[in-house]
Structure formats: structure tokens, C-alpha cells
């Protein structure tokens, strides 16, 4: 078995695609139309294009518990998932200039430095640098 996919619930797939590619720099990998205007929409990291894919999944629109869980995480400030970066400060500066809203600015905790931002699609996302 291999780990090839992580799924992120989003309220609007098109808006998420724009945010994750234009602001965060991911690259679209698969885009297959499904029933009712939904898509099997995946992204890869620019630096690891053969690495795991992110599935932008419209679950909150179709399955109420997913929406409830997503809302609860957002309310508590808990990140849905996290991505590794080489330099949290540099990434924070870059994303801040692009208008991305951070709930936690770059902060050191033990052997990592991290920050948390809003992906505008219902999730907090954490970026992490290993110190």
C-alpha cells in the first residue's frame, strides 16, 4: 500500500482551485467531471510533482457531518492539515502580500516553527518548518 492522496474538504471547488494554485503555488494534476458539477480535482506540489496529491473534495456540500466537523475545526482554530516549507517566515511574508489571512503568525514551538492561515474554503491550514 502507498500513501498517494490526502483530501481537503472545500465549499467551492473552483474557488479552492484558484486559491491553492494561484496563492499557494500547487499545480493541477487531475480534473475529471463527476455527477452534479462535482469534480475529481487533485493538485501536486511544484517541488514534488510525483508526490502525494491533494484532493479538493466538495464533501461539506453533500454530507452534513463533514460540514459540521469542518466548521468546528475552523471555530477552534485547528488546522485541517499541514504542509512543510523550508522557511516559514519567507512563506508568511509572501502569502501575506498576496492577501492570505493568518490566524497564527510564525511561532516557534520546540523543534518547529509554524504559522496558520485561512484557505478561504472553510479550513485553517498550517505551514511548518523543522528547526
Amino acid at each position: 500500500m502507498k500513501v498517494t492522496l490526502i483530501s481537503i474538504p472545500v465549499r467551492d471547488q473552483e474557488k479552492a482551485l484558484k486559491f491553492y494554485t494561484e496563492k499557494l503555488g500547487f499545480i493541477k494534476k487531475l480534473d475529471t467531471p463527476l455527477d452534479g458539477g462535482n469534480r475529481w480535482l487533485t493538485l501536486v506540489s511544484k517541488e514534488a510533482q510525483d508526490g502525494p496529491q491533494i484532493l479538493l473534495e466538495p464533501a461539506p456540500n453533500h454530507f452534513e457531518p463533514s460540514k459540521v466537523y469542518q466548521d468546528a475545526l475552523m471555530e477552534a482554530g485547528i488546522p485541517y492539515t499541514q504542509f512543510d516549507v523550508d522557511d516559514v517566515d519567507a512563506e508568511y511574508e509572501k502569502l501575506n502580500k498576496l492577501g492570505v489571512e493568518f490566524s497564527i503568525k510564525p511561532t516557534e514551538m520546540g523543534t518547529v516553527k509554524f504559522a496558520v492561515f485561512n484557505d478561504t474554503c472553510g479550513n485553517n491550514i498550517q505551514i511548518v518548518e523543522m528547526l
Binding site: A76, G77, M109, G110, T111, V116, N124, L131
Partner: protein, 129 residues
């Protein structure tokens, strides 16, 4: 303050209050990052930080979740991927990242990535051409 921030602060106080230990392991990790291509043993690492080697091993594992040796191997494999992508030969790559034998490098590379260095390079180069 959100629930998450409160939890982060609470866990930090419990797990990361020993600044001297943190400094020791972070400096050790940085030393590995900058010297991975050299012959690095636990003796060398503990000598650079003036701590006993078993103490360092325990601390590193406690804070990073893996031993300095495991971290060093992961670092070398990551760097060897970069070199192979740039077109460096398998033998050159092996010695450039600090491994001492091509046989053990290739075997480790295959365990960690699922492919031999030659296979990996062939796939990467055909993809970029």
C-alpha cells in the same frame, strides 16, 4: 485566543520548556544538515555539543522522533535525489552525499524510495526531457 492556541501553549509548557536541551538537539540537527557529506558518527556529534553520546541519542530521538543516524540517512537520500535529478552519476552521487560504498547506497536508496538510484534517475530525466 482559540482552543488551538491554548492547546499549543499548554503542550509547549509541558514538552518544550527545557531550552538547553532544545538548543542542543537543534544545533545537532543543523550540524548534520551542513555536514551530511562527511563521515559523521555519534562520537563526532556529541563532541561538537560537549554532551555524552548516549545522552545526545536520547535527546535527539525525544525531540525529533528518530535517531541522529536515521535523520542523517534520510538527509543523504533526499540530497542524493537532488543530485540524480541534476544528472550526476550514481557513483558520484553516492560519494557526494557521504556514503562510502555504492552497494550500500543503492540498497538503502531502494529501501527508502522503492527504486534503485539508476531507475529513479532514468524516470526523472525522461520526465524532464
Amino acid at each position: 485566543m482559540t482552543f488551538y492556541e491554548k492547546e499549543i501553549n499548554r503542550i509547549s509548557d509541558i514538552c518544550y520548556s527545557n531550552e538547553k536541551q532544545l538548543e542542543t538537539v537543534i544545533e545537532t540537527k543543523n550540524y548534520i544538515d551542513n555536514n551530511f557529506y562527511n563521515d559523521l558518527s555519534l562520537n563526532v556529534l556529541s563532541y561538537t555539543r560537549f554532551v555524552s553520546k548516549y545522552h545526545l541519542l536520547r535527546l535527539f530521538k525525544k525531540y525529533y522522533g528518530l535517531t541522529p543516524r536515521q535523520y542523517l540517512i534520510d538527509k543523504r537520500i533526499e540530497k542524493s535525489k537532488e543530485n540524480l535529478k541534476k544528472g550526476m552519476t550514481v557513483t558520484e552521487t553516492c560519494f557526494a552525499v557521504g556514503f562510502e560504498s555504492v552497494g550500500s547506497f543503492s540498497a538503502l536508496f531502494k529501501i527508502k524510495t522503492g527504486k534503485s538510484p539508476a531507475q529513479f534517475q532514468k524516470e526523472q530525466l525522461s520526465r524532464s526531457s
